[in-house]
Amino acid sequence: MTHPLKNAYLPTVLVFLVFVFGVAVLSILGNDEDSSVLERRALAQSPSIDFAAILDGDFSEDYATYLQDQMVVRDDFRFVKSFVERVILRKPENNGVYVVDGRLYDKFYGIEELLISRAARLINSIAQDSGSNAIYFSTIPTKAQILDRDRFLLSDQQIITDAIRQGVDANYVDLMWLAQPGNEELYYATDPHWTTPGALSAYKALASALGFDPVDTYEFEIETDTYRGSEYGRAASWSIGDDTVLLAHNDSIDGMSLCRFSSLEERKCFESVYLQEGENTMDAYDVFLGGLGPIITIDNPSSSTDAELVIFKDSYAHAVAPFLAQHYKTVTLIDMRFVRRQLVLDNFSLAEKDILFLYSTSVLNTDPQILN
């Protein structure tokens, strides 16, 4: 006679075999994806079988990365991990993103003094070599500055701003007040960037400093109300709702046109500053000027002056540039991570233009190529 407990081992064995074989079969049969929109990156593809790569172990490493990237229901697994980290292990963060009151905050910890002083020196050298006498600079705090530094492991971004102010001889425009408690809505919940209201607030401060009366008449169009930014992809948290991306319109902004330069000779032009089909279509924030690019120009035919503005910037400037362009005939945005300094000095006649250096503290603190 069979012992009554003998078959009781079967469920354990079945659970194990079904899981291991099931995931194996599904992951073999599943189609490989080119990229992950959630994570804003290309996914590893199946490595080609190469004898030398097999011998030196590269093949096995590449295959491990490929399997990790192409695992069946990969995003669901990532959400499960995030759930365990946040809900069961009670950790305040997942993959370096804090989850606080339904909003996500990139962990900002560690001050890179060398990078910051280097950035200040380079900003100063461009400012001096430009010959312009209308030079402004500002630092944009990331939203982590809003959080209580006694509760979370965070650095004070004011230190970065102070260091840049000390090192740069130009007119400083304060934007640090943006990231204070109560101003959460000035940033997306799921993305590091500022929202259109956030960019508008910054624009008002910048325009006043540049000597203009800020324009205050806009209509807002909802570009999308299902925006999930880059922090969403990393935090992979079920408890976070979607963001709404607003586009500001008025006659002046609607009349603007945009050119994106891949080199001084090659450019693509558009009849709007908002590009629904941006070049980097993974992120809805790319609707502003079409996403990152080395040189972008905005032409404002309704401008009453011939004044021109050059902005040295990172991606935060894209949402604020259309507002600033209302006061200029042309605004040129230069991303020094993609353009050589000498090329800019030789080709952009900076002496006759207003110049604004507009960088987020996170780029000043982490990107060694900010001003190459």
């Binding site: 079967l10 064995v13 172990g57």
Partner: protein, 464 residues
């Protein structure tokens, strides 16, 4: 290949299980051998040759040991086995330590060989020696089937991180083993628990240790938190690997020796080493300490024997002098306990005995993990507030708050709480048919989720 990887769980494991269980009995060992060589070659395509060569040499040497039993030639064959095995281990693992030591001691300028260490060489070398020595001592019959011997040496469950399975403990199972649903189920239990220990606890708490050693704002509290985290990391990592190995072995019909038995509940160093990496301790006891004379010699010789064994035990863990010092540190503590401390410890309340053990083990881990004397002294200085740093700071409190659940789980997992619960409730049919399978499914799901979304999955035994 390591167990805690997607390629093992969802490629290698299903393939080998399928092939193994559908194969007729006579093909099971060849399949395990080929599978194990593939498993090894996946990360070490070149060094698989070394392992095969070593197996082949020792296969013939064991045959000679047996053939010339009783004559001097048998002894020569054993000596050849020991010399060849240790020479390979010494060359690949310790050559550069020797070069560096000579260079720094004599001011010479010999170039280091910069040889990569073949993974698992320390484990399989000790297994090979257990075989040839036991054949010489006539404790086990010689293995005439080269496939069976090669399979014993290369068998993937215990190949790269132990336990060190002595030949005699699996000799009969190599050629004649049974499989059952109960044994497979038991194997699943051990494997899944081991996987979760490694992926969910060890990897996770290892991040806390990383934060403690890379911090720009050290504090006494963070130093203690860090070394406690490392103690948990190495325990859950290593015992997790052993659990996975034991579990995989059971699925395939082998019973491997236990390797860990809740070492952190020990009340003395002597007890700790009976519970920590037991298969290594037993190997050194049987194949070095006892042959040296053990404690049946003069007191001076006994001290010498203990110190030799612990010097080599330390050095086995890595080709760096800090490991030797770590071994000697425990050797000296064991001697002190044996001479007088054990009697003293018995007279003090149990909590103090635990505190003593944990303190010496934590200090031991700083020596083990930090490498250079400067780093070790600096970290110990931080722990004991001798470096003028703050007692506690924001970072320490934050890391404590962030890891508190993990630390509680790790503490609970370091005592036999869950095991007792398991043993007590397992006879219940509902537990066995419903609760435990659901628990395993949950652990498998979450462990896989962590493997999919994790960039931190270290292999701690690359120096062993």
């Amino acid at each position: 290949m390591v167990f805690s990887s997607l390629e093992f769980l969802f490629r290698f494991l299903p393939a080998i299980l399928l092939l193994y269980f559908i194969a007729p009995r006579r093909l099971k060992n060849p399949i395990l051998l080929v599978g194990s060589l593939f498993f090894y070659a996946w990360g070490e395509p070149v060094f698989v040759v070394l392992m095969v060569l070593s197996s082949a040499i020792n296969y013939f040497l064991a045959l000679w040991i047996d053939k010339f039993r009783g004559s001097a030639r048998s002894g020569y064959a054993l000596a050849a086995s020991v010399v060849v095995s240790l020479a390979l281990l010494g060359f690949f693992k310790y050559a550069d330590l020797l070069v560096d030591t000579v260079n720094s001691g004599f001011g010479s300028d010999f170039s280091p060989l910069d040889l990569p260490l073949p993974i698992g060489i320390s484990f399989y070398t000790f297994q090979i020696l257990s075989y040839t020595i036991d054949v010489y001592k006539d404790r086990v019959p010689v293995q005439r089937n080269p496939i069976s011997l090669a399979m014993y040496i290369a068998l993937f469950p215990q190949l790269i991180a132990g336990p060190i399975v002595r030949y005699r403990s699996v000799a009969s199972a190599i050629d004649n083993r049974t499989h059952s649903l109960e044994m497979f189920s038991d194997g699943v239990h051990r494997f899944v628990i081991g996987l979760a220990k490694k992926v969910l606890i060890a990897n996770n708490i290892g991040l806390l240790w990383d934060s403690a050693v890379t911090t720009s704002e050290p504090s006494v509290m963070l130093a203690w938190l860090g070394i406690a985290a490392f103690s948990f990391q190495i325990y859950f990592d290593f015992s997790g690997y052993s659990d996975m190995a034991i579990g995989l072995g059971r699925m395939l019909g082998f019973r491997y020796p236990e390797n860990f038995n809740y070492p952190y509940i020990s009340q003395s160093v002597t007890e700790f080493w009976r519970r920590w990496h037991m298969s290594l301790g037993q190997w050194f006891r049987d194949y070095l300490y006892i042959p040296l004379g053990g404690n049946r010699v003069s007191r001076l010789m006994w001290v010498r024997n203990v110190l030799i064994v612990w010097f080599l035990t330390g050095l086995w863990h890595g080709a760096s002098w800090n490991f030797a010092i770590w071994g000697l540190y425990f050797g000296v503590l064991l001697l002190i306990e044996r001479v007088f401390l054990a009697t003293l410890l018995e007279r003090i309340p149990r909590p103090f005995r635990h505190a003593y053990l944990l303190l010496v083990v934590l200090i031991g881990w700083t020596i083990f993990q930090l490498g250079s004397p400067g780093e070790i002294l600096s970290y110990l200085g931080d722990m004991f507030g001798l470096t003028g740093i703050d007692l506690a700071n924001n970072e320490a409190w934050f890391l404590l708050r962030s890891n508190i659940v993990l630390l509680v789980l790790a503490t609970a997992g370091s005592i036999p709480l869950f095991a007792k619960l398991y043993e007590r409730t397992l006879p219940r049919l509902t537990v066995r048919t419903f609760v435990m399978p659901s628990y395993y499914a949950g652990l498998l799901l979450v462990s896989t989720a962590y493997l999919v979304d994790s960039s931190f999955n270290p292999f701690l035994y690359f120096r062993f």
